[in-house]
């Protein structure tokens, strides 16, 4: 988090990566690779095949938007990429690590180090302050308390809510709560941020602020972002937009 306030131009590598993505991405390495991924849910005896033989590559440093009708499997795909769930068939490799071969516990550990989560409904713990909510993921690390607090405040500064550190969620607006959630997502400095309809519950102005912030995380901090959205204005901010329909990329 220490480079949170540095500008992209001050980091040559970052600048290079961003330029590569914007110019079409030939030079950017593939971060996320799905091969022949299938996902089937079972409701009792009835099988629901949500994803089928899906191939997908996402470059490092990309800002991806996933769109598609309701029930098309966007959240399912996002959950697989985030290591929340396992594939029924095929494989998912992220930075060369095969998620589909990991146990549930291994995936949990991997998530805590590599993925930041942003949900539609913010999902902050109501009894904790903004700073404590942001600090939450760090409780799984061995960092000393003082360091955890420092990092939580740095993350809150990135989302512009440092002065709200001691406020509880019910004292914040929806947009502010979502920014706290974003701070929580970046506090462990993960490579990937997944966001499932991050602006779904927000008004236009707050939504734009959130999207601005996501663009900033992508460009300035080099986070790879995978965002599910229904909102065309949100998708516009992404560098790559993919559409999913009936479990197939179109």
């Amino acid at each position: 988090m220490s480079d949170a306030s540095t500008t992209p131009t001050s980091t040559a590598a970052n600048t290079a990566a961003n330029t590569a993505v914007k110019s079409g991405g030939a030079a950017a390495a593939t971060l996320i690779r799905l091969s022949q991924v299938g996902k089937t849910y079972y409701r009792g005896k009835e099988a629901v095949e949500v994803l089928k033989n899906l191939d997908l590559e996402m470059p490092d440093g990309a800002f991806e938007a996933l769109m598609g009708p309701s029930g098309s499997g966007k959240s399912t795909l996002l959950n697989l990429i985030a290591g929340l769930d396992n594939v029924t068939s095929g494989s998912i490799q992220i930075s060369g690590v095969d998620l589909s071969r990991m146990s549930e516990g291994e995936r949990a550990k991997w998530r805590s180090q590599n993925v930041g989560f942003i949900f539609q409904t913010y999902n902050l713990m109501p009894v904790l302050t903004a700073a404590e909510n942001v600090e939450l993921p760090l409780l799984l690390t061995s960092l000393p308390s003082a360091e955890r607090k420092k990092r939580a405040l740095t993350a809150l500064r990135v989302v512009g809510l440092e002065e709200r550190a001691s406020h509880r969620p019910d004292q914040l607006s929806g947009g502010q709560q979502q920014r706290v959630a974003i701070a929580r997502a970046i506090v462990t400095d993960p490579k990937i941020i997944v966001a499932d309809e991050p602006t779904g519950d927000l008004d236009r102005a707050s939504a734009d602020q959130i999207l601005e912030l996501l663009v900033k995380l992508n460009k300035e901090l080099g986070k790879t972002i995978v965002m599910v959205t229904h909102d065309p204005a949100a998708a516009e901010r992404a560098s790559i937009v993919r559409r999913l329909d009936k479990g197939q990329l179109t």
């Binding site: 985030a82 929340l84 769930d85 998530r111 805590s112 109501p126 009894v127 904790l128 929580r184």
Partner: protein
């Protein structure tokens, strides 16, 4: 901030429900402690029984009398140090039938040989030995009725009908808790002289003192054998057994009480389990979020168990905090003063406090075990799909 801190903070989520649950646990623990104190102080009362005294009564029932000469027969046995006798008088202050106190006729001359733990100032003792209508009363009883040495007291008899006049010759205290300090003892000769013919030369029970407790059991048998072929047979037992049989009815009640205390604990567990289960159900989505962030099933169940532990222990502490002063300063004094024989020491035992707190913790964990297990078994994506 740490995980335990979050578990504790979670109890504030639904403060009203938490307060109700804590109150429920506290009340249950208070009731439990009260019952436990009744039980253990009663047991203590029996424990205080002298081991070198044995009691002889009518074989059939305590209510029937033994001939006075049996005392001399017992005194003639080998290994008997002293024997004295007693009659339940069953009188009360005229017009005050509801103010129960034990009043017992005895033989002042042999009385102090038997009850060497009873202390009366020497001049008062000498006075009692001379005074046919004399009585000595326990300090607690004297305090209760405001009696002083020299007072005249009239009692109205029921077993021995009529009005009986007594002089308070002395006030006794006891050096051990084996006798209560709220009994009224008076000279059996006064009773015997004035009793109707059928009640003359009759005694209620005989207490025999043996030189050492090891001989008590043997003597119990020998006394009963001695009277085996007489018209009236006897039943001899240790003082402890006498105290226990005295309280036969109460002991049944105490058994019921200990069952009630178990029921109370079960109810407490259900209340707690319900609160925890409701919390878990409401927070399913949140547990999904925590799991997504990287928390493990063990962390989720630790949150649930931690919260239950806090509520259980907090409720237990509140219960103990109320029970302690209530029993030790309120109920306890009352019981000790009014029911010395049964409850010579009616105070919350440290061990009962430990048991109460231990049970609060244990039952909280048991109550939370199933919700905690269910929370830990949640599938992350399922939990996330579950709305609020």
């Amino acid at each position: 901030m740490n995980l335990a801190g979050i578990a504790v903070k979670n109890t504030r989520r639904n403060l009203f429900r938490t307060v109700l649950t804590v109150t429920g646990v506290a009340v249950a623990m208070l009731a439990f402690l009260l019952l436990r104190t009744v039980l253990s102080s009663w047991t203590a009362g029996v424990e205080y029984s002298a081991k070198d005294r044995i009691a002889t009564r009518h074989k059939v029932t305590f209510v029937m009398w033994l001939p006075r000469r049996y005392v001399d027969d017992i005194r003639a046995l080998d290994g008997v140090k002293a024997a004295s006798w007693f009659n339940w008088f069953g009188a009360h202050l005229p017009g005050k039938e509801d103010q129960f106190f034990a009043n017992i006729a005895t033989d002042p001359k042999s009385f102090f040989d038997i009850y060497d733990e009873i202390v009366v100032p020497e001049d008062q003792k000498q006075h009692w030995l001379q005074d046919r209508r004399g009585a000595i009363v326990g300090s607690v009883l004297a305090h209760q009725f405001g009696w002083k040495v020299g007072d005249k007291v009239t009692l109205e008899g029921s077993i021995y009908p009529g009005l009986w006049e007594f002089n308070i010759d002395g006030i006794y205290t006891a050096t051990r808790k084996s006798v209560d300090q709220s009994t009224f003892f008076f000279d059996w000769n006064y009773l015997n002289e004035s009793a109707r013919d059928s009640a003359k030369e009759q005694v209620g029970w005989i207490i025999t003192k043996v030189p050492n407790p090891a001989q008590a059991a043997g003597l119990v048998k020998r006394i009963d054998q001695l009277f085996d072929n007489r018209d009236i047979q006897t039943l001899t037992m240790s003082e402890r057994a006498l105290n226990t049989s005295f309280l036969g009815m109460i002991s049944t009640m105490l058994t019921a009480m200990s069952m009630v205390s178990v029921v109370i604990l079960l109810i407490m567990m259900l209340i707690l389990g319900n609160t925890i289960a409701m919390g878990v159900r409401e927070r399913t989505h949140e547990y999904g979020v925590l799991r997504a962030i990287g928390f493990m099933p063990k962390h989720v169940s630790a949150f649930v168990l931690g919260e239950a532990t806090f509520i259980g222990l907090f409720g237990g502490c509140v219960g103990v905090g109320i029970a302690y002063p209530l029993i030790n300063q309120g109920v306890g004094r009352f019981m000790e003063e009014n029911f010395t024989g049964m409850f010579p020491y009616f105070r919350v035992a440290g061990s009962d406090v430990a048991i109460a707190l231990g049970l609060s913790l244990l039952l909280a964990l048991v109550a939370a075990a199933i919700p905690a297990y269910q929370a830990s078994k949640l599938h992350v994506t399922d939990a996330l799909r579950r709305v609020g």
